[in-house]
């Protein structure tokens, strides 16, 4: 299959070139047709007047359609190639005309040449060559003029095309060259042509070199067109010929349009030559901005961005030297000099600026009192005479400045200031984005750290908790995302005694998790030693003080349940008081007493600040140990759950004998959830409920 297909595709260009050949063959055939129609005696004189024009017009219209297909719409890079194409076409046309003229001149003496039919044939060939060129130019200029078209432009052009069709029809009525009607139509169409030709937006997009080239090409084209015009005018009065091209209005209009469009283009390009550097500069500035924007995507460093700002700023304003200074909160003033230029002493340059307040600000020793978006300052320096200072604001705070220096006084015009400010703003935006990206990255890392901390915290808590046979024990603990670290545990000391601990570690995230693990280690190493409660606390304080961070402390309640004596002996290390519900009296008591957090006092005087307490429990009594996350839990209005509410709920729940410890615990959590509403929990909270039988 492939082999079959290949020859077909390779033949395609041949077919296309055949098409263009066909065109010329048709041209010749039509030419012959004209001649024959002229020569044939059968044709009446009336017919003789319009038949050649009709054929010529049909041919021109045909050429127009063909040209439309040949010359597609253009864009910025293809202006010059199109102009060269058009010029080549014109040149070839002129060469054909000149070649035929030369042959005619060479055989001027011969009988054949003086024969009017032969002369007409050659003449019509020349006219056809010209016609082909002019239709080509019409299409070419159409593409150029309709570049960046507006609706109005399109309508005008459409009007022009309809007018051309009309002239095609009109030329059949044999309107004589330079008659009144003829002139009116020509002037009208020329006016329309001028209107269209002034639309030369494409010129602006050529750079200086391209403009010079285009100018040359268009001048050649203009000369060729003038030769055509001269040729048409020269033969206009030749009685020898059986028809005259000037009588064909379409051809004349096309020629006039081509002349106007070419002349205008030449003039506009010529007058645009000096300003092209300005346009190029603007494009360069735009490119600079683009580069700056792209640099963000490449994730360049902040210093690279300042270098880009300097380079762009220097180029855009034609300044000779400059620097960027950046001062972040709590940081030193950092200056960036252009890499490509020799280094200079910035402090001596600042000294040359004749504004004391500005000098201070540039040195980073004082904030600027004024809040302008730029400053133009005179400079007293052997080289530099003027300075432009643009403050840089990142995340809406003033954090530095861009200084550009020029060797002429008052060297920065409005445009230069504008572009320098644009560069500065763009750079600040890029730096801002860079910072945000960093922040996002940091936040991601933070989230990861939190996830680890959560896992560690969860793994430190016991899976099950032991208790004596005469009581039920239930624990509910909820962990917040980033703050706090609640810890609880129990240890059976002997048959009758169980040690309990409920603790709260200050700090957050991974640091809280590490403190928690320290605490667990301390608990499990001290408890088996069978220390008294206060002794336990003393040892724990001493152990933790050596390991805790400067601002970190631990609060806890450590107590021992004794089944034989039916007592609970405990110490409170700066922790929330234990709540005791007595079934006998039906009352709640808060067991505060002296106490101090672990790690607060890192010396031996700690024991003066703690107090061991013992309570005796009866059947139906309940104890509540909890962490401050419960009472500090806030709702949307910022209202805390509070000690009062906790007491109220616990009292009500504990008073009902049918409630198990687990039910009391769960319902307390529910009450807390009701209070918090949709608010996320801000801190770990733990409740440990004991219910005695």
């Amino acid at each position: 299959m492939y082999k079959f297909l290949k020859p077909v595709t390779s033949h395609l260009p041949d077919i296309r070139s055949f098409g263009s050949h066909l065109n010329w063959i048709v041209l010749l055939l039509v030419n012959l047709l004209i001649i024959v129609s002229l020569r044939h005696e059968l044709i009446t004189p009336e017919l003789r007047n319009w038949a050649p024009h009709l054929t010529l017009n049909m041919l021109l219209v045909g050429l127009l359609f063909w040209g439309r297909y040949q010359i597609g719409p253009v864009d910025r890079p293809s202006f010059l190639p199109l102009l060269i194409k058009l010029c080549t076409l014109t040149g070839v046309g002129v060469l054909v005309v000149l070649f035929l003229e030369a042959i005619m001149a060479l055989f001027s003496g011969s009988r054949l040449v003086s024969d009017p039919f032969f002369a007409t044939m050659v003449y019509s060939l020349e006219v056809l060559a010209g016609g082909a060129v002019l239709t080509g130019l019409l299409i070419g200029f159409k593409r150029l003029i309709l570049f960046e078209k507006t609706r109005l432009m399109m309508i005008t052009w459409r009007l022009f095309e309809y007018a051309l069709v009309t002239t095609t029809v009109l030329s059949l009525f044999n309107i004589q060259f330079q008659s009144l009607g003829y002139n009116i139509i020509i002037i009208g169409l020329s006016g329309l042509g001028i209107l269209l030709s002034v639309h030369l937006k494409w010129v602006g997009y050529l750079d200086f070199r391209q403009k010079v080239q285009a100018l040359g090409v268009l001048l050649v084209q203009l000369v060729c067109l003038l030769i055509f015009a001269f040729f048409m005018y020269f033969y206009a009065a030749d009685a020898h010929l059986l028809f005259h091209a000037v009588d064909n209005m379409l051809l004349v209009v096309l020629l006039i349009f081509a002349l106007i469009a070419t002349t205008f283009s030449v003039l506009v390009i010529f007058f645009n030559l000096p300003t092209s550097s300005v346009f190029e500069k603007k494009l360069e500035d735009l490119n600079g901005i683009k580069q700056l924007q792209q640099s963000l995507r490449k994730r360049q460093s902040e210093a690279d961005l300042y270098q880009l700002l300097l380079q762009g700023g220097l180029k855009a304003t034609d300044a000779q030297w400059g620097w960027v200074a950046i001062q972040r909160e709590g940081d030193e003033l950092r200056t960036h000099q252009p890499d490509e230029l020799p280094a200079q002493s910035i402090s001596s340059l600042i000294a040359a600026i004749s504004d004391a307040q500005m000098q201070k600000w540039l040195r980073g020793t004082s904030a600027t009192g004024r809040k302008k978006s730029y400053y133009l300052l005179p400079v007293q320096h052997p080289v530099y005479k003027s300075a432009l200072v643009v403050p840089l604001r990142i995340q809406e705070t003033l954090c530095g400045h861009l200084v550009l220096l020029k060797n002429v006084p008052e060297g920065f015009n409005k445009d230069a200031v504008g572009i320098a400010r644009l560069f500065a703003e763009q750079t600040c935006l890029s730096v801002e984005n860079l910072l945000l990206l960093d922040e996002a990255l940091r936040s991601e890392r933070y989230q990861e750290e939190m996830a680890i901390a959560r896992r560690v915290k969860a793994s430190l808590l016991p899976d099950s908790i032991c208790c004596n046979a005469d009581c039920q024990l239930a624990v509910c603990s909820q962990s917040a995302d980033d703050v706090g670290g609640d810890y609880y545990d129990a240890y059976r000391l002997d048959e009758d005694r169980v040690a309990l601990v409920v603790a709260d570690v200050s700090g957050h995230g991974s640091s809280a998790a590490f403190t928690m693990s320290q605490l667990k280690g301390v608990f499990h190493s001290l408890v088996p030693q069978g220390l008294s409660c206060s002794e336990f606390l003393l040892q724990a304080n001493s152990a933790l003080s050596r390991g805790l961070g400067r601002t970190t402390f631990v609060t806890l309640v450590y107590g021992v349940l004794d089944r034989r004596s039916r007592t609970f002996t405990f110490v409170r290390a700066g922790h929330c008081p234990v709540i005791h519900y007595s079934q006998k009296s039906g009352r709640l008591s808060q067991l505060g007493g002296k106490g101090m957090g672990l790690g607060l006092l890192r010396n031996n005087s700690y024991q003066e600040h703690i107090e061991e307490q013992t309570i005796a429990y009866g059947p139906g009594d309940a104890l509540l140990l909890y962490t401050d996350g419960i009472i500090e839990c806030r709702n949307a209005a910022g209202e805390e759950f509070g000690q009062e509410r906790l007491l109220q709920h616990f009292g009500a729940l504990a008073a009902q004998p049918q409630h198990s410890a687990q039910e009391v615990c769960t319902q307390l959590q529910e009450a807390l959830a009701d209070h918090a509403g949709l608010q996320q929990i801000q801190d770990d909270h733990t409740t440990l409920v004991l219910k005695f039988s």
Binding site: D482, S506, G507, F553, G592, G597, R602, H609
Partner: protein
């Protein structure tokens, strides 16, 4: 959330803390106190009249300077604590280590008498 203002009158440095001191904002409190210390202030008052809430991180900040103030022989007094905030200090036992008084006048007497 937090607003810290500093003022000095007659050798007495007053740090006014307004709003909530939580894990994030405790950094500013830490900075303000350490600045006062590094400036060699011997009499530092903390105005807690507008202090709404203090978390364990904030308590940790106060705790961490107790030793520093003792070492530099400076007076460090808190005043104007709301009942709730004072309760937090009490539960932790921090009231036993810090000088906490009700009014500014009392605080001024405390710092002037003892030096």
């Amino acid at each position: 959330m937090i607003n810290i203002t500093k003022e000095s009158e007659k050798n007495i440095h007053i740090i006014k803390v307004e709003g909530d001191v939580d894990a994030a904002s405790s950094i500013y409190l830490d900075k303000a106190i350490s600045e006062a210390l590094s400036l060699g202030q011997k009499r530092v008052l903390i105005d807690c009249n507008q202090l709404e809430y203090i978390s364990s991180a904030g308590l940790g900040v106060f705790m961490s300077y107790i030793q520093d103030f003792e070492n530099s022989d400076s007076r460090f007094v808190l005043f104007g604590l709301s009942d709730r905030v004072a309760g937090v200090f009490e539960i932790l036992g921090l009231d036993q280590l810090l000088t906490i008084v009700k009014t500014k006048e009392e605080a001024l007497i405390r710092v002037s008498n003892e030096i």
